[in-house]
Symmetry: C2
Subunit: 323 residues, 2 copies
């Protein structure tokens, strides 16, 4: 376990330690470029393909850092989280690699496919009712019964330090960059990006991208304090969660701007990427490109790292084939 | 223009010259691996991602070799072909890079999206009726009127030498291989693979993969002479064309075996690759994996190069979303 309690305590040493710790368990994902996308945007885009990451998303970086940072005594009791998305998959994967249990609290109404995927990585699911009250109560029971270490999907400094290894790799892989852009939900990836770049390359701009229909980070950024969305509804379902104190610390201090895009712009950018770059990515990952296309003047002539955060999509329900 | 007339005249020197000639115009595409796919098959698979190639398919290798091998006098009159698939796109792309015209004869009934894609790369389309008679008549007219150089999609030795550069790169990128597998339609890619490997690494087995429902290459291979399919019908629409004398030369001499897969096996392998590897590829490209899964004993324990030939898919008509 990292000897830190809050976001402000994190240093670049934590990021480098995280990278050494998780390297055997993750991919150093490739950078893809596309002359078509460069012509379209007037920028030079470098896509960091975390959709090719273990368990299909960058979340495995933070999850692995938490799991492999535990003492043997702590690890024995396993880890626990509540999530129905990529964090649950990633934590299950990392726990499986260490050979310890991973407890996941999920609403009983979550899609069977998601439950199967978590179980496929070895996660142990406890179902709750689809309400915050039930989730918290059930999670407390599981936590109490198992003594497992709680790994929050993004508000945990160990998780932020893990996500920070993504931009650490980008600094190595890409000659120079003027800006980096990534989607923002709870802010784990953006916070990690801020942590790395503010220390190693403070001249690089950091843009956060989110849906118009879940624009709590943009509103928080402008207001200067955390504003949560009231039941946001967007196709980019990884981006519905609110900022928390540890991620707000980085967003408020180091982010250049938070840009937004409409649902249609997100779907168009997603389809365009599949068509032209031949990669499968989640709606959330299309948000950065959608905001670049909406704000070309911000990026024109710049070398921009674009973090493609994950590729776990239900191929039976693609947004452009739905009526 | 290469100073050769038939397949048997081709040497490894032609392949190396082709590689030098086309390098500025193509990508050296990456190799992807997947521990999931390795566990599933019991083999070690190395996916050569020609779906990330310029114009979305390996065909740009052969097309570029033909286009950039022309003398200035020849080039001035442009190039011509009849194709409604990746060869038309690739030839248009290569001609555009050289700044010469590319004439494409296509049935007027071809999907508008395909016509738009060819025009998008600068190709000049002349429409014919959807019959072989009309296609040949219209092509003869275009050829006569323009004096353009005819570049056949696969039976042209310049094209075979170009496709051969793919396995040349693989020998560089992958430590050792026991086998290479690629889809077979007209046999251009497989012939190029034979040309390179029979010269540089004759110990590597070469497997050709095709649909049960277009198994003319398998039947030809067993019969010892070319047998054409009678109106084959398969989702792997790039693989419907028959072998010709220049490709038959290589297939008959150097291929280890021709394996086949059913339509459902092809669709399942395609979806599995999208889901687990997060790459967009054509149905044709899923045929090798489908045959590996059908014949695990052939590949178990081997290091196998799998050529993913292209990624030009109609995202509005994915086979698993069709009723």
């Amino acid at each position: 376990m990292l000897d830190v309690l809050t976001g402000p305590d994190l240093t670049i040493a934590h990021v480098k330690a995280a990278h050494q710790r998780i390297k055997p368990h993750i991919h150093c994902t490739p950078i893809l470029t596309s002359s078509y996308m460069n012509e379209l945007t007037g920028a030079e885009l470098f896509f960091k393909c975390e959709n090719f990451q273990k368990a299909g998303a960058f979340k495995v970086r933070g999850a692995s850092n938490a799991v492999f940072g535990l003492s043997d005594a702590m690890a024995e009791k396993g880890v626990a989280t509540h999530s129905s998305g990529n964090h649950a998959l990633s934590l299950s994967y990392a726990a499986g690699r260490r050979g310890i249990p991973c407890h996941v609290v999920m609403p009983r109404t979550a899609p069977e496919a998601k439950k199967a995927a978590v179980r496929g990585y070895g996660g142990i699911i406890t179902e709750c009712e689809p309400s915050t009250t039930s989730r918290e109560a059930v999670f407390a029971e599981v936590h109490e019964a198992t003594g497992a270490d709680f790994v929050h999907p993004y508000n945990d400094p160990r998780v932020i330090a893990g996500q920070a290894t993504c931009s650490l790799e980008m600094l190595d892989q890409i000659d120079t960059m003027d800006a980096v852009i990534a989607p923002i939900g709870g802010g784990g990836m953006i916070s990690g990006t801020c942590l790395t770049l503010s220390n190693l390359a403070p001249g690089i701009e950091i843009y956060a991208a989110e849906p118009d229909q879940a624009d709590d980070a943009a509103r928080s950024f402008r207001a200067g304090h955390i504003i949560a969305d009231d039941a946001p509804n967007t196709i980019a379902d990884g981006l519905k969660v609110p900022l928390k104190e540890n991620t707000w610390h980085f967003v408020s201090q180091f982010v250049t701007d938070v840009l937004t895009a409409s649902e249609q712009e997100i779907i168009d950018a997603m389809k365009l990427t599949w068509e032209r770059m031949k990669i499968v990515m989640e709606p959330s990952c299309a948000v950065p490109l959608a905001t670049i296309l909406r704000n070309p003047e911000v990026f024109r002539g710049k070398r921009v790292g674009v973090i493609v955060t994950g590729g776990n999509v239900d191929l039976d329900k693609l947004p452009w084939t739905l009526g």
